[in-house]
Every structure is written in C-alpha cells, then in structure tokens.
Symmetry: none
DNA sequence: TATGAATGAGGCTTCATTCAT
DNA sequence: AATGAATGAAGCCTCATTCAT
C-alpha cells in the first residue's frame, strides 16, 4: 500500500546516501567530506541528509556499520572450512581491497572520529581477527607456524597492513596498495611466522 | 646586554609555546587543539601565538620538528656502537615513550595534517629506520635473524608499534602503552625475526 | 510551483542584500562597512551574507555591477536621439544623483578597492563616456563647441563632477551635491566648452 | 648641552620618520601602509613610532602637514610676481610632480582618512588655489581668459588633475602622470579658458 | 630615549543543523 | 518526505597600541 511504498522509497534513499557517503569519504577522507558534499554527490538537498540521519556523526557510524557487514559477509564468502593460513590472509586483503579507499580513510582518521564511529570499527576488526585466529591456531597446533600469543599474531599482521595503507602516498601513490603490495606482504608475513628458520 | 636579553626572552617564549603546544596536542589531539587553547594554556594572549608563528600550520610543523630533533638526539644517546638489535628496539621505544602522547597523536592524525607536517614526520621515521636497519643488517649477516628485505623488516616493526599506540584506548586506557606493552612487543618481535624456529 | 517560489525567494533575498549593502556603503563608506553591518542592517544572520556571496569582495563587486546596470539603464531612459549636449550632461548628473551616496563612496575609495571592483567601475565610466562623447562629437562638427580631443573633453567633465562629489563635506555638507551644484556645474562646463568667447 | 643634544636627536629622528612614512605611503598607499612597515623601513623599532606620534592618525597628519609646507614653499620658489597663468599651472604641476606618489595616494584615499588628515589636505589646496586665482584674476581682468567664478575656475583645473592622478593605472601605468600628461593637460586647460573661440 | 614582545578587539569565513514551505 | 535558505557558533588571523626593560 501507499505507506509501505513510501517506507520502501525512504529506505532506498537512505541506502543510497550511505553508498554515496562511503564513496565521498573514500575519495576525500572522512573529516574533509562535508555533509553538503555528500548531499550534492547524491543529488539530494542538504536537508535530506538530516532527514535520514540525526547528525553527521550518526551518518558516519551507519556508513561504517554498512562497511562492516559488507566486509564480514565478504570474508565468509572467501573463506571456507579448510582454508590454510595463507589463503585466509589473502582473503582478508581481498576483502579490504574491495573498499580500500574507505577502509584506508577509516583507519587513518580513527583518532579524530567520534566514539561511536571508533567502536564500530573495533567491532569489525574483532570479527576479522576471529576468522584469522581460528586458522592460525590450527597452524600453531600443527607446528607449521611459530607458537605465539594470538593477540600478537593478529596485531602484527594488522599493524603491517595498516601501516602500508596509511602511508599509501609513500608506498603506492598511483594505484591500490593491496594490489601492488598485497602478495609481497602476505609472503613476508608467512615467512616471519613460519616455524622453519630463514627463507 | 639588553639586546641579547630580549632575544633570549623571545626565544624562551617561543620554546615555551612549542612546549605547551606539544602538551596540548598530546592531551587533546592535533586537530582538536585550537590556537586559542594553546594560548590560554600558555597564559599568553591569543595574538602572541601569531607573533611567533605565522600560521597555525607553521606552529604545528615547528612542534613536529622539535619533537623530531628531540627524538633523534635521544636515539643517539641511547644507542652506542655495539648495541644489539634488542637494545636498539628498546631504545626506540624508550625514545618514543618520552613523548608518547604527542607521538601517538601525530601518527594517529597524519592523514588530516597539512603536507608540511606530514613531511616532517616522514623525515623522523626515516632517521629512525636508518638506525635500526644498520643493526638489523649485522644480525642478518651473522645469521642470528631471518633474512628479509630491509623495508619489510622495519615496516613490520613500526606497524606493530603504531598499531598499539593508535589503539591505546584498547590496549592501555589508563597508562602509557610503551611502559605497559613495550617489553612484550620487543620480545615478540625478536621471536618473530629470530632465525631459530618457534620459541 | 514550489521550486520557482523558492528560487524567487532566494533571488529576492540576494537583491535585498545588494540593496542594503548599497545603502550601508553609501552611508558609511565602502571600507568602513563590515559584512556584519550589512547583515544586521538587513536583519539576517551574518552567515547569510556568505550564502549569497562567496566573499566580501565578491559582494562588493556585485553591488557595483548592480549600480552600473542601474545607471546605464537610467541614462538610456533619460537620453533620446536628439538630445543636445546640455541635456546629456544633465541626464548624466541626474543618473548619478539617484545613487549619489554610493557613487560618491565608490569614486572616493577606488584606490583601496580590490581589482575586480575597480574594473567594474571602469566599465561603467566607459559606458557613460560613450553616450556623452557621441553628442559632443556632433557639437564639435557643428562648430557650437570648441574642438578638442575627446578624452580631454570627457575627463575634464568627469573630473569636475568627481571633485565636487569627493569633497561633499566642503561643498554641500547637508544635502546632495548634485541637487545643490548640478545646474551650476553644467552651466559652467557649457560655458567653458562653448565656441564663443567669454560670457 | 646634553639635554638640547638629545632634543636635537629626537627631532632628527622624528623628521626621518616623517620622511620614511611619506615614502612608504607613496609606494603602498596610505591605508595599506602599516605602522610596522614604516618602522622597519626606517630601521627603528615599532615602538619608536609611538614615541614620536601618539597615534597612527597623528603621524599621518604630520606627514600631510610636512607635505603641505614643502609644496607651499616650492610654489613660492617657482612662481614670481609676473608669471603668466600658463606658468603658474606648470609650476603647480611641477610642485605636485615632486611628490607625485604621495600626493596621489593622499587625494585617492581622502575619503577613508581621519578628519584631521582631511583638514590638513584642505589647507594645502586652499593655499594653492590662492596662488592660482591671483593670476587668473589678472587674466580675466585683462580679457585674455574667459570670465568665470573663481571657485569653478580652480575646481575644474584641480578636478582634471586629480582625475588623471587618481586613474594613473589607466593613463600612465608605467611612469609619472605629470611628466607624461602634464604639458598636454596645461595646454588643454589654457585652450578651454581662453577668451578666443576654438583652437 | 629606544626597544620589541605582548596585547586583545575585531574582521572574514566555514559548516553542521534547523525550519518554513 | 523532500527541499534549501537561513542560522550562529567558532575558528584563524591582523594590527594599532602598550609596557617592562
């Protein structure tokens, strides 16, 4: 009926705003993107933004949440039960690579983000870490990778990746960091954690 | 005489402003700290800031430069010719630890900083990496640590440290990240790069 | 419909701001009038000014342009094909007189105006000079007025008028310079350029 | 004695400041010249300015007064008892030409000047007008120039000159307006006021 | 007397948010 | 529901003037 039709329309618009916002955030950075930029990119009026999101802060949070569930879904698709560690790391990078711009903006600007946004990011990371650590545990048990505390295992990996993403201007000014360095980073990390000495 | 007295006074004030700014930046973050905040923390008028620094941007750059030379000086003091790698990493963390708050703010907000500020940070990193890599090279030659490309060696370490610093709220909400996790991070990294398998 | 209603409203506001700005400029002078003065005179918020004009400078230019087209339109209305010179000069003064305050401010402060504003004024003057010189040429051809270079003809006239306007405090502190001295100035200038000797 | 020595020194400094200020005003315009500019051009401290002049406004007035007496003195030197009108006008232009930059700045920015400064300018003009009118009167009596009210006689001339000076960017962007157009302007004005018809 | 560091009022501009239509 | 004009609280910076030395 008419009402539900409207509801649907409204939901569509909201989705579209989230999508557009994500693109703008990816392109110009989170703090540099003004609500008016998003409105004009989405070809809606400035006021419309605030019809769907009470504040800019809440809009940002919803964009991050959308990104989170998208990433999480993608991880599930890419990883199946008997993946080895290398495949999981590659899947992680692949997942990130699909929204590299936004993800980079997100981790680069975490510090200046409102708390809600920061928490949303933490949720995402912990979901990812869960996936990776599950496989890592098997590796350690099997003796193929060095034994080490799980948190350090994950944080070393994620720290390495974030460092490259955050310094894209240094490492890959032209194209995607993941497509340019992903393979090398995975190989390096596998080498580091491998139970065998040296290369 | 009078003239040098005056100049000294002015230099003192400028130093003090840099010092105060560094504290404020450390406490509230770089972008969240207003020039007026710094002025009132330093108990000078707002205009005084602009007597010593032409723009807020230039003030920020000078604070970073001061931090850089301080860090660099500290590294030199802490490291002597026959340091082993573990000692160098510890020295690095000790150096950072002395201005942990500011350093954390700096790396956490790089993305939203003006170019000059970003470049200043890059200079600092490259000075540090030089120190560390020198020792690492000896270790690889001697076969005590795994052979690997220098850039990855450094970037994995710095990425790990930055990840912990950036997520201080997660890892050490109350006190310093370095004093709480520094030793463990060094041990972990030494284990990772050690030529011997497992622990 | 709604859209055009909105646009009309916005256009109205902009017009009103230009109008108000012109009054304020006329009353207090161009450089002495702050954007905040204009806002409060127009009973809008300070920010509204910048919704309609990107900078104070651009606002000034638009006010000058509005004045220019108003003046030009008025000249056309007042002058018809077979005007004699005296009528044209009178029309010129009449046109100016209608915005005497603003015009006076404009020519009195040209030197401290941004370039765009200066250029806008030059355009106006050249349109006026065209009108006047056309008729002057006929007079010289017919031998009723002295032969002289066109530029000097116009510049002497305009210089005289501007001198009186700029020194209003001297010549007509209470009321309009044009209404008090216009006739006399026209008579004098006609006498000066008349081909016949003396009065 | 010591005291008068000091006094003399102080007077010298003051003279020098006035001289330097005049140059700066000529070069950059009156309102665009800041007290700090003058101080640094004179190689004295900023505070020194306010030791000799209570306010910027008063400094400006004294500069104008100095210019006035200099101009007046120069007029006396250039004009002797039996000058004809043409010679007097030429002398006027010559006098102006010697400080053309400052004089131009002065008349171009009169409107934005404080009252004291405006009054000082008026005094100067009236001294000059006296000189010129004296000779003009003889010409009118002798029937060599058209009869006309004295004020209009002077104001037309001065308006013409000011118009050219004020619009130097239009008429003589490179060099001095007086040296480029002075002769032509004098000739034109002589022609205008000549009792004989036409050229 | 001279210095020049310090002051602080005030200007322009930005942008998230509100509200009448 | 959508619009977009209007709001107003900050933020950065300038510069004449003061005052301790």
């Amino acid at each position: 009926m008419a009402v539900s039709q409207r509801q649907k329309q409204k939901t569509e618009t909201k989705k579209f705003l989230i999508e557009t916002a994500m693109e703008q955030f990816a392109k110009k950075g989170l703090s540099a993107t003004r609500t008016a930029d998003i409105a004009s990119a989405a070809k809606v009026s400035h006021g419309t933004i605030f019809l769907h999101f009470p504040t800019r802060e809440r809009l940002l949070e919803e964009v991050i949440e959308e990104f989170g569930s998208r990433t999480s879904r993608r991880m599930h698709e890419l990883i199946n039960g008997d993946c080895n560690l290398e495949e999981v790391l590659a899947a992680h990078l692949k997942g990130i690579g699909e929204c590299e711009g936004f993800y980079t903006a997100l981790i680069s600007e975490t510090a200046v983000l409102p708390e809600g946004a920061r928490n949303a990011l933490i949720m995402i990371q912990s979901a990812i870490s869960h996936h990776i650590l599950q496989v890592a545990e098997r590796g350690m048990d099997a003796g193929t990778i060095k034994t080490m505390p799980f948190d350090l295992f994950f944080n070393t990996w994620i720290g390495l990746i974030h460092y490259y993403l955050s310094n894209r201007a240094l490492f890959s000014p032209e194209d995607s960091v993941i497509s340019r360095h992903g393979q090398r980073l995975t190989d390096h990390y596998m080498n580091l954690i491998s139970a065998k000495g040296g290369i």
